[in-house]
Subunit: 194 residues, 2 copies
């Protein structure tokens, strides 16, 4: 199963692609950043990000696109551009009938390091280790996109759907499952306002 | 010149189309609401809104798409969906090389009623009068989309570009120009954070 992770942004939009095989074996396929110039108008920036994402999705033909869930509480200066970039990634996937999964940064951190408040460098190191890379993925900030893809591959819900039972979860996975449940509740409440 | 106004939203996205002729003569062409069901996933909702907007843009072939500018300070529950819907409208226009104009709600209210804090009913009445309609446009909340199209047609900057001089502005237009300048400053500061 090919998973394409998206760390959304209007200036820099991280894209990371992995393959999830049997026995939770994960392999690195691709990592990159899709950019738009801050010097052009917002509509042209969104078009550049959309075209870049479409190219990645068509090149790597993922089975799932895993996108960071954006919250209104995030950095006010960038949250709207981030939400719009996430929206374009959802659109590009939906246009191709590719399922979309949304994961919070906390879920991704927990899935990868066992700590929902992990630092950036810890995530980069764990992504490097999990994917058996010789060096840290570059560009460095695209590690978050790989983290979102890995998070989706390792999600407890998926493991349970696959026939595993809850007692087989590691403590980190159990913690992750709880964070995920909380996020689902918050999401439900937010959606009701929409 | 055909102007298509968009009042962005994830559940209801208003679309209003007018023609702006010589001597600021404005004619009504179309008003409607593009919807998405709250019962499907966010990616499918965005796809429905995008497809609906594309259909309107291809049907009415506007020279400009005038979209409400979304601010991070807006209602927290809906601001992200609103920003995403606005992003899709910008994308659909940019894909067709149609210029995009962003106008704040205050600019639209000022342009139409001369009062930046006008009530919804005042805007609906003025839209009805300006476009010489026999009855108020339905659905009622799509009047905002017509207001955004009218706002773009009546913008002082456009009038000035058209060869008019600043002293020819009405007091309402002058007030509008000042609100617009303020919004441009705020936009500049917000963009620097992106």
């Amino acid at each position: 199963m090919i998973i394409l992770g998206v760390d959304p942004g209007l200036t820099r939009c991280g894209v990371g692609v992995i393959e999830a095989g049997a026995h939770r074996r994960l392999s690195f396929i691709h990592v990159d950043v899709v950019r738009s110039s801050p010097d052009v108008s917002q509509d042209l920036r969104l078009l550049a990000i959309y075209n870049g994402l479409v190219e990645k999705i068509e090149t790597y033909a993922p089975d799932t696109v895993s996108i960071e869930r954006v919250f209104a509480q995030s950095n006010r200066n960038t949250v709207l551009g981030t939400a719009q970039a996430a929206g374009l990634a959802m659109l590009a996937a939906a246009q191709r009938n590719i399922p979309v999964a949304l994961h919070t940064p906390t879920e991704a951190k927990l899935a990868i390091t066992g700590n929902g408040h992990a630092q950036k460098i810890q995530i980069e190191r764990m992504v490097t280790r999990i994917l058996n890379l010789n060096t840290m993925p570059t560009p460095a900030d695209a590690a978050d996109a790989l983290a979102l893809a890995i998070c989706h591959a390792l999600r407890p819900a998926g493991a349970l759907q696959g026939g595993e039972r809850e007692e087989h979860l590691t403590p980190a996975q159990r913690q992750w499952a709880e964070a995920s449940k909380k996020a689902t509740k918050r999401r439900f409440n937010a959606d009701r306002g929409m």
